[in-house]
Amino acid sequence: MDHNEKDIDDVTGIDTTGHEWDGIKELNNPLPRWWLWAFYATIVWAVLYTVAYPAWPLVNRATGGLLGYSTRGEVVQQIEAVEAQNATLTAALASVDLASLSEDQMLNRYAIAGGAAVFRTYCSQCHGSGAAGAVGYPNLLDDDWLWGGEIEEIAYTVRHGIRNEVDSDAHWSEMPAFGELLEEQEITNLVEYVRSISGQQHDAAMAAEGTILFEEQCTACHGEAGMGDDSLGAPNLTDAIWLYGGDREALTETITYSRFGVMPPWSPRLSDAEVNAVAAYVHQLGGGEQPATE
């Protein structure tokens, strides 16, 4: 079209920009002036914003901004704020008498919630995120405890660990590898005996042979009836729970070579409040024991 002529739209009587797409033309309506000022204001705002907040990328890092804001700093602030808010509860939890923790509902709920977080961070690698354990790593959901299931016993185990050489207060016991002391047939007889006292299918004749061996070799730790002893970490052999398996193969391996499960001490790495929290959490997972009442 001729650029010197105005192209007036017939319907509206308004000048067009001269741009045309498939017969559709763009009207050349003027913008409101305040819109222009608003546009300039956004530019000014943008410039001020890049001065006030981290913005321009440089070689090593971006400009910091006059306000000194950073998202990391904000997270740190928020965490500090939460910690400050919970300071009283945390202090109370660090020095609480665990046996009476459940009487303080507020503190108990705080401990369990915090303990769940501690558990997921530090314990789930071995015991599983659902605390169901694995072969060699105890299931914390059941009612069978190697070193005691009262809340204070759990806290002690968490604090000092098991069979580690870091903490001199760690639980310690060691089962001999009977492969060096007994004949293969004797071990087989023992296996049949252990299966008999745990109510599993077994060879009665062999089990009878194993009875004497058991009394000689095993009762010192596992007790006369094979019920175990949680002051020695000796498992109860009569129940349905097996840390390494209750089948013949696993039992034979256990007796022949022994087992040596290790847990690190958590005391220096976790604060007293965190140890108490995770003990409270584990204690309420389903198997927690109450102190025996007189």
Binding site: H3, K6, P32, W34, N139, D142, G199, D239, A240, G286
Partner: protein
């Protein structure tokens, strides 16, 4: 190219001085203004007793506590679909009214329209009617002009502060917040909100007015899609009014070109030019024109609510269609049906809402636990919500075709009872156990139903779930 156009790139706002008008629609608009502003300012002050643990404000959006209170209804975050449903209904309602009656929302009830109306009223009280305001606009900035302008602006700001101030009362206990606001004890967010809404009210209602509708609001453009020639809207009976002219000019049309319709228009347009994007159908031109028609002894309705299809029919000498024929169109009926469907659905959902709110989540990590006596135990996390203002005590029970036992962790373990504090939700760990000889212990899945009973009134609610055994 633009430089060759005589049109400027940017234009300043043309000031508009709407003249005072009286008549049916003006009266209707006054009443709507009183009712809508009344609802807005008074609602946060209505009290509603919900018991000691809950707020006693009838309408309260408690953002920090994540609760929404509306008289006897309490909405928790998991029930936000009620709010979503209301918003959808509001949208469909707008479609419905627009397709039937044009831009009635814009003309009568839009907050922008209502507050602009209020601001113009104040302007008229202080500076006088249209002619006085035009003179004042053109006058030099002498003492009188300063005095009138400052008075007007101060009153506007007071209204704006009250508007922004009323808004924050919906989000906190109104009497407490009012005291806090004046004693400078309120949260900075409250002051910021009041400040922002004061500024927008003052600028939009006082200074920008129709610019908001024309340039900022998407509705004028979207609503055009809801309208068709059958939609009833404010229009000029072109066939009757034209050719227009002064009375002594003896032109044949009824329009005497008195400009009354233009002078009262808050959008600053001439309705006689036909349908325009700027027209908010406030109907004030109808009042103005009817007044003139009465004076010159012509029938009313030169400017009227009418459908564009009627305008054509009347021009051809035919009678217009009755209003119900315009309104009962498929799209109007469809919008009505959809609107009612959602409304009925929401009301139904509201009334079948259980008094006991619970969800049962079977713990799947692990699916079961073997106990020392060989029993199989499943764990369930039961979430109980207590929406009432008093603590509630619930008893846990289960029903199943198999022999299963329920017990739980915590305070009320002996009686399987749990107390949920007022206005709180709580997750309770529940154990269901099968003895080794029970069939459920050695079956992959067993159906069961967990029941929760309110100890005080015996109300019950149940949820179906499953028990996992050790498949042999």
């Amino acid at each position: 190219m633009a430089s060759q156009s005589s049109e400027p790139m940017y234009i300043a706002r043309e000031p508009i001085f709407p003249r005072r008008v009286s008549g049916f629609f003006r009266t209707l608009k006054w009443w709507i203004m009183i009712v809508t502003l009344g609802i807005y300012y008074i609602t946060p002050w209505i009290r509603w007793d919900r018991g000691p643990a809950l707020p006693d404000q009838a309408v309260l959006v408690d953002l920090a506590g994540r609760r929404f209170y509306f008289f006897w209804i309490e909405i928790w975050p998991h029930e936000f679909y009620f709010v979503a449903g209301l918003l959808i209904m509001a949208g469909l309602g707008l479609f419905l009214f627009t397709s039937a009656l044009g831009r009635v929302w814009c003309g009568y009830t839009c907050p922008q329209t209502v507050w602009v109306d209020l601001f113009i009223l104040v302007e008229r009280w202080i500076e006088g009617d249209r002619n006085a305001r035009v003179r004042l606009w053109n006058a030099d900035w002498d003492l009188r002009k300063w005095r009138l302008r400052l008075t007007k602006w101060i009153v506007w700001i007071l209204i704006a502060v009250a508007t922004g101030g009323a808004w924050v009362f919906y989000f906190a206990d109104a009497p407490t917040l009012l005291v806090d606001l004046f004693t400078l004890n309120a949260h900075p967010v409250a002051y910021t909100t009041v400040a922002i809404l004061t500024a927008t009210t003052f600028v939009f209602g006082g200074l920008m007015r129709e610019q908001v509708c024309n340039y900022m609001c998407p509705w004028p453009r979207i609503q055009a899609a809801m309208m068709d020639p059958e939609t009833i809207t404010v229009a000029y009976r072109d066939w009757r009014g034209e050719p227009r002219g002064k009375k002594h000019e003896n032109t044949e049309g009824d329009c005497i070109d008195c400009m009354a319709c233009v002078n009262v228009c808050p959008a600053g347009i001439d309705i006689r030019d036909g349908q325009q994007m700027e027209c908010i159908t406030c109907a004030l031109c109808i009042d103005a024109c009817d007044d003139i028609m009465d004076k010159i002894g012509k029938p009313r309705g030169l400017i009227d609510y009418l459908a564009l299809s009627d305008e054509e029919a009347e021009r051809a000498g035919a009678a217009p269609k009755p209003i119900w024929k315009h309104v009962l169109r498929p799209r109007v009926l469809l919008y009505t049906a959809l609107w009612s469907l959602i409304g009925v659905g929401l009301v139904y959902a509201l009334f079948v809402r259980s008094d006991i709110e619970l969800t049962v989540e079977p713990v799947r990590n692990p699916t079961y636990v073997t106990l020392s006596d060989g029993s199989i135990r499943n764990v369930y996390n039961v979430r109980l919500r207590n929406k009432l203002g008093d603590d509630r005590q619930f008893r846990m029970m289960l029903s199943s075709d198999d022999i299963l036992r329920i017990n739980m962790e915590g305070e009320g373990a002996q009686t399987n009872q749990v107390t949920v504090p007022a206005n709180e939700s709580l997750i309770q760990r529940i154990y269901v156990t099968a003895r080794p000889e029970d069939p459920a212990a050695s079956r992959d899945r067993t159906d069961l139903r967990l029941w929760v009973e309110d100890v005080q009134n015996g109300d019950r609610a149940g949820r179906a779930t499953t028990f996992n055994g050790v498949e042999q």
